[in-house]
């Protein structure tokens, strides 16, 4: 039967026709599926295994000028947990050479008179020389050294019998990510990044393709409305994006033991809102660019860089200079990364993540409205 006189039915028929056609395009074009499904998994494995901010077995050279029981005990404290790996002795004066030759990342210098100072109960000093060329590593090394030194001084205080029980048990514990594993931290960020890149690229390509082929004019000459085109185009990619999210999270939880503390439904809601914004961004790009080459480049640039650098995925937002911090506020990936970490790692619920969801919703509405408006302008 014809659906003449039934506007809702015709609306669905048209959106359905476009969505179905899009699904056929995706099925026919292995590149799309590769871009959407294989690339994220490959990147996840690369990033998960390859990019690690965890620092252990830091090569440590020891310059023991005291050569006493106490100085050896201190050196042992540094190396016994394999946080530091002894690489032999070194002369403190030759530190530059040691670092330049990359023999060690740090040099522990125990000065002459260390044990004597300890025995006197006075401040005993040891020195850690650090190669801070890589500040990320240097910061972690410093933190570890601090913890070890503190722990060691407590131990000595208790051994010396200053108090029957140690005054304070220093226990270094990282919350939410107890082993401080990078993968746990990076998987949520990576999921947002991959969704952003492929959603923007795929939509930009598909709509620009219609312009390039000339089929957009054909669509405009049919009773299909702009909204129906937009919906028909976006729905299949929304579904594809969700599959992608679940795939990335599935690999994340199974391969990298990323926990899912919070509600999976909330994860999906966040994913939908985020994807809507990214698809809208792709649509806007393709409406403006109208050819696949420009759309690809603009799509990659506008999704890749912000979601990599301004989302907090790699660089904590609090560590950014003020202008970048401000700029990151309009990057939806920032909210997605935060929401995912909140939900997955901390088990937070709607009460905590609603500002993130709201921000992504606003972005999606604004960008889809902009794209639809630009879209309409094309027809005089």
């Amino acid at each position: 039967m014809t659906l003449a006189g039934n506007p809702a039915g015709r609306f669905l028929s048209r959106v359905g026709a476009i969505a179905w056609k899009e699904i056929l395009h995706i099925r026919r074009d292995p590149r799309t599926l590769l871009l959407a499904l294989a690339m994220p998994v490959a990147m996840l494995l690369l990033f998960g295994y390859g990019v690690s901010f965890d620092v252990d077995r830091i090569p440590l050279a020891i310059s023991d000028q005291d050569r006493t029981e106490a100085s050896r005990r201190l050196a042992q404290a540094f190396t016994e947990n394999h946080e530091f790996e002894p690489v032999g002795g070194a002369d403190a004066d030759a530190a530059d050479t040691v670092f330049r030759r990359r023999r060690a990342t740090a040099i522990l210098v125990v000065p002459r008179g260390y044990e004597t100072d300890l025995a006197r109960g006075g401040p005993a000093r040891a020195q850690l020389l650090l190669d801070a060329a890589d500040p990320v590593t240097a910061n972690q090394v410093l933190a570890k050294a601090d913890a070890i030194a503190l722990f060691e001084s407590r131990r000595m205080a208790s051994v010396a019998g200053l108090s029957a029980a140690p005054p304070l048990q220093v226990k270094v514990s990282a919350r939410y990510n107890p082993e401080a594993r990078s993968a746990v931290f990076i998987v949520p960020g990576l999921a947002a990044y991959l969704m952003a890149v492929s959603a923007v690229l795929l939509t930009a390509l598909t709509v620009a393709g219609e312009w390039e082929r000339g089929s957009m004019e054909q669509l405009f000459a049919s009773p299909v409305s702009r909204l129906e085109i937009v919906l028909g185009k976006l729905l299949p990619y929304l579904a594809l994006g969700l599959i992608q999210l679940l795939l990335v999270l599935g690999v994340g939880t199974n391969v990298f033991d990323v926990p899912v503390m919070g509600s999976p439904l909330l994860v999906i809601l966040a994913g939908l809102l985020f994807l809507a914004g990214m698809l809208g961004q792709g649509l806007l790009i393709s409406v403006v660019a109208k050819n696949q080459l420009v759309a690809t480049q603009a799509g990659a640039l506008s999704s890749l860089l912000p979601s990599l650098l301004l989302s907090g995925m790699l660089v904590p937002i609090d560590n950014m200079p003020a202008p970048l911090r401000l700029l990151s506020r309009i990057v939806p990936a920032r909210y997605m990364v935060d929401a995912l970490r909140q939900i997955l790692l901390k088990g937070n619920g709607f009460a905590r993540v609603w500002p993130d969801l709201l921000a992504m919703l606003i972005f999606a509405v604004v960008i889809v409205a902009l794209a639809t408006k630009r879209f309409t302008r094309r027809i005089a």
């Binding site: 039967m1 014809t2 659906l3 003449a4 039915g9 015709r10 028929s13 048209r14 359905g16 026709a17 476009i18 179905w20 056609k21 056929l24 395009h25 026919r28 074009d29 082929r213 000339g214 089929s215 004019e217 054909q218 669509l219 405009f220 000459a221 049919s222 009773p223 299909v224 027809i379 005089a380």
Partner: protein, 320 residues
């Protein structure tokens, strides 16, 4: 049911900045008519079509298509018509039947109705055996038939075909035109642009566009009578080249163009007869010359119209 003309255009104009692409065009197209729209590239054919199908708003003037005003009810127009654009317009990576299904869905067909119409159209276009084939793997002529099939799937009362046979081989063009005549017999109005003048002979009426203006509009026979009062002669023989050059320089010879191995001449009937032409060519070295008077072709009409159009324009430019 609308019994008036399918298409009515009244003083239709479209301006792009300084450029007047369509200049005060008026015509009617009757129901079931095959109406040919001819003109060189850039003459304003596509712009006219785009106004008639509701893609482009007219700068001035008005037009109704299937009873819908194109400026005020473009959506009504779009549902009533089928359109086959110049460039497109099939998805080459999809199978034939999926293309049909898509365009059917875009026009609100679905389910059993869509399936039935798709089968009918496959039959009509002779594509039933190719229904599963990937569209891109089929030759251009078959694709054009599929594109036409996609445009008539929803039973529009009018189809607009913008250069439907561009780049298609002659045999495929002929079968395409058989399809167009079949549609017209079924009561569908066909508005078709082309720059193949032989195809235009198939049209009931022809409009000729030159630089945005509709300068002639009539049946092919009437156009020939009105625009080519010259005597048209077909000359055959050997060594005609010198003869052609000689004739071109003589008064009363309007055109002397090579045509196949022969020579196509338009001459003033007052000053030239076939016999006079034969003698002139033989005296310039032509051998075994035969001269035959023929009907003017639409190409003769077109050249005459374009020449006149240019003269009119020159006169306008001189006038203050």
């Amino acid at each position: 049911m609308n019994t008036g003309p399918s298409i009515e255009a009244e003083h239709l104009s479209r301006r792009f900045g300084e450029f007047l692409a369509v200049d005060d065009v008026s015509f009617h197209v009757e129901k079931g008519e095959i109406f040919g729209y001819l003109g060189a590239n850039g003459a304003g054919k596509s712009t006219t079509i785009r106004m008639l199908i509701g893609l482009l708003a007219p700068t001035s003037g008005r037009a109704t298509v299937a009873g819908h005003d194109v400026a005020h009810d473009p959506e009504g127009v779009k549902s009533a018509i089928g359109y086959m654009s110049q460039k497109f317009s099939l998805y080459l990576d999809l199978p034939v039947e999926e293309n049909l299904r898509f365009f059917g869905g875009a026009y609100g067909l679905w389910g059993g109705e869509l399936k039935k119409r798709a089968d009918e159209v496959l039959e009509l276009t002779g594509l039933a055996e190719h229904r599963k084939a990937i569209t891109g793997s089929l030759p251009g002529g078959i694709r054009q038939r599929l594109a036409l099939g996609s445009a008539v799937l929803h039973r529009p009362s009018i189809v607009f075909l913008d250069e439907p046979t561009a780049g298609v081989d002659p045999e495929a063009r002929r079968s395409f035109w058989r399809l167009i005549r079949e549609l017209s017999r079924g009561g569908t109005t066909v508005f078709v642009t082309t720059h193949y003048l032989d195809e235009a002979e198939y049209c009931r009426r022809i409009g000729l566009m030159v630089d945005g203006r509709l300068v002639a509009l009539d049946t092919p026979a009437e156009l020939k009578r009105a625009w080519v009062p010259d005597r048209v002669l077909m000359v055959r023989g050997r060594n005609l080249a010198d003869g052609a050059a000689t004739l071109r320089a003589r008064p009363g010879v309007r055109a002397a163009e090579p045509f196949g191995s022969g020579l196509h001449l338009r001459v003033d009937p007052e000053t030239w007869t076939g016999e006079a032409v034969r003698m002139a060519i033989e005296s310039s070295g032509g051998e075994a010359v035969s001269v035959e008077e023929t009907e003017p072709t639409l190409e003769d009409v077109f050249l005459a119209v374009v020449g006149r159009g240019a003269e009119v324009q020159a006169a306008q430019e001189v006038a203050p």
